[in-house]
Symmetry: C3
Subunit: 109 residues, 3 copies
């Protein structure tokens, strides 16, 4: 048994939980803030049998991997028009910081 602690961006959190449940992994979510990733993030605790660790990491990678996304900035409501970019820009989204921890004992009561 291993305990995977994964810090992911909020925007990927729902998708990841659904994917974990679909693949029969059991996870709990902790509200977390800042730090590893700049924007709002969620910390997952995932208890995994040794032989399924790679599979769990793959689910996290697929759903949370850092990628570029085109976003169209909203026009400014007033002022600061000089810094307004009227075309889509690429921003970095997603990303996951993942720790695999050894577990000495696991119990389910």
């Amino acid at each position: 048994m291993k305990l995977i602690i994964a810090v992911v961006q909020d925007q990927d959190s729902h998708k990841l939980m659904n994917a974990l449940v679909r693949e029969n992994f059991r996870a709990t979510k902790l509200a977390s803030t800042g730090g590893f990733l700049r924007v709002g993030n969620t910390t997952f605790l995932i208890g995994v049998e040794d032989e399924r660790v790679e599979e769990a990491l793959e689910v996290i990678r697929k759903n949370c991997e850092s990628r570029e996304q085109l976003i169209s900035p909203l026009p400014p409501l007033g002022g600061h028009a000089e810094s307004y970019v009227p075309y889509p820009v690429e921003v970095q989204v997603g990303g996951a910081t993942v720790f695999v921890l050894p577990v000495e004992a696991f119990h389910h009561f």
Copy 2:
């Protein structure tokens, strides 16, 4: 020293914290949601001397063990009366998912 991470149902969380304090264990609670247990849950971090791990697990088991409870469903306020069950039903409550982690160093500043 071990770190026990225990995910328990919200309804058992207050009782468990009181029992841990009474037995002189030191714990902190993290707000957590969904996953290991279907309903709202709380994640406990409990720092424990090696020789008291079994005792701590017993406190968790006693206060959080999965059990059946009789509940009397409330009559429906309107509509869906066809699915109303007018007698108490047994539901599964409680339960704890517990990881015992090795600790390389412990400090109290």
Copy 3:
């Protein structure tokens, strides 16, 4: 790689996060309540290379160490005047409970 889990008082949490970022450590914060420390607390997860563990512990100690602080109690708004202490009193603030955990694998996606 180690995972440092540090439970600190809320009042030191902002200062600690700033100090960690300044020293190029990466941390995430979890909202936590009660237990190890009597007042509101915050749990930090800090991923650290083996050779920087002592340095990270020193940042935590410097910013969170338990210390005495003089506070001037506010006069009571009404009633209980008999228990009002009209001079500054020393109270214990700060403190940190810190676990250093072994990490079997670390990934950044």
